[in-house]
């Protein structure tokens, strides 16, 4: 009986946190983030969205990482959310115009807890997630890098450590901290199911190699490059 009471009290407290978080989301976040869906259906519509869609945040992010990041946000995409809006032709190559990059506002610890609670309730549809899941296992960073870069060319757009790799996509050395493993498997399997206009291509990576890539991202995350920056 005592445990039932505790369970009910915790459930009510979590629901209250999520309600408060949703109010904050609606007041402070919706001008840049889509929290109801659907994903952008044209490139122009995509470019108008200032931040990533959050209407499936609960199926995408790791709650622990999300809450910490909201208190102390740091840049994940070296060239911003839409790099085309922050790049200029340079002498040797196109360069990021850092003066145009905006920082994400920081939330108080209590607001971050409430917002995270609300975001984790926003789940993707079954169609988006598909049936592939992460099956566990591990791989060395060096072998993983071969699968990621040599066999599939992913490093062309993604940094695998600060200052090494492509700049147009988000850094991947923190990807496994940020994202749920099943989301990573699903997104690599079919990026367009999540976002029809994402610049991330479907490379038709084999299912076993997708498992290896997620294992690699997990091994890479343990190197804690973000804490060394």
């Amino acid at each position: 009986m005592k445990y039932l009471f505790l369970f009910v009290a915790l459930t009510v407290a979590n629901a209250a946190l999520a309600d408060d978080g949703m109010l904050i989301l609606q007041k402070r976040c919706v001008s840049c983030h889509e929290i109801s869906g659907p994903a952008a259906q044209s490139v122009q519509e995509l470019w108008q969205r200032k931040g990533p869609d959050l209407f499936y945040a609960g199926s995408k992010y790791n709650a622990e990482w999300l809450e910490k990041w909201l208190v102390k946000p740091r840049r994940i995409r070296p060239a911003g959310h839409h790099p085309i809006q922050h790049t200029q032709p340079g002498k040797k190559r196109d360069m990021v115009d850092t003066t145009t990059l905006m920082s994400h506002p920081a939330l108080s610890p209590s607001d971050a807890e409430e917002v995270t609670e609300a975001l984790m309730k926003l789940k993707s549809s079954a169609e988006m997630m598909g049936t592939a899941v992460f099956k566990g296992g591990s791989i060395s960073v060096s072998f993983g890098e071969m699968v990621f870069d040599k066999f599939n060319g992913c490093m062309a757009c993604h940094e695998i450590e600060p200052g090494y790799g492509g700049l147009s996509g988000p850094e991947v050395y923190t990807a496994a901290k940020r994202y749920q493993a099943d989301y990573l498997v699903s997104f690599i399997t079919d990026p367009q199911a999540w976002n029809p206009k994402t610049p991330m291509p479907n490379r038709h990576v084999s299912a076993p190699n997708i498992q290896k890539i997620v294992q690699y991202l997990q091994a890479l995350a343990k190197e804690n490059w973000d804490e060394k920056k």
Binding site: S42, Q44, R93, D94, C157, S168, P201
Partner: protein, 116 residues
């Protein structure tokens, strides 16, 4: 009854249209999928080139692009670099672009290189 069928067909068609992603023009597609490696001006010196093991093709060069047929360009965009024995760094875009959009991109590339 016939009128009802017509309305139903119209309604279903509208539903299908509203749920399908739009077809984008070639310039928007170039600026969403191609420019980060091939460059804002198409000169092959994009944002990502610094650590790339193979340099992207210069789309403004008639010399570099002149040797490629429209069919080759269509194939490499749709199926990726390996499909024409080129680099794995060029991904296949068939899940992002329709065949019509790829044909439009081939025409756009011909404008950039002023060749073909």
């Amino acid at each position: 009854m016939r009128k009802n069928k017509l309305f139903l067909t119209l309604f279903v068609s509208l539903l299908m249209l509203s749920s399908a992603a739009w077809s984008d023009d070639a310039e928007d597609n170039y600026k969403n999928y191609c420019w980060q490696c091939h460059g804002m001006t198409g000169d092959g010196m994009g944002l990502n080139v610094q650590d790339m093991s193979v340099q992207p093709r210069d789309h403004t060069s008639a010399k570099a692009m002149g040797g490629r047929s429209d069919a080759d360009l269509f194939k490499v965009i749709k199926e990726g670099g390996l499909a024409i024995d080129k680099s794995v760094l060029m991904p296949p875009w068939r899940n992002s672009l329709s065949d019509d959009e790829i044909h439009d991109l081939v025409k756009y590339l011909r404008k950039l290189c002023q060749c073909g």
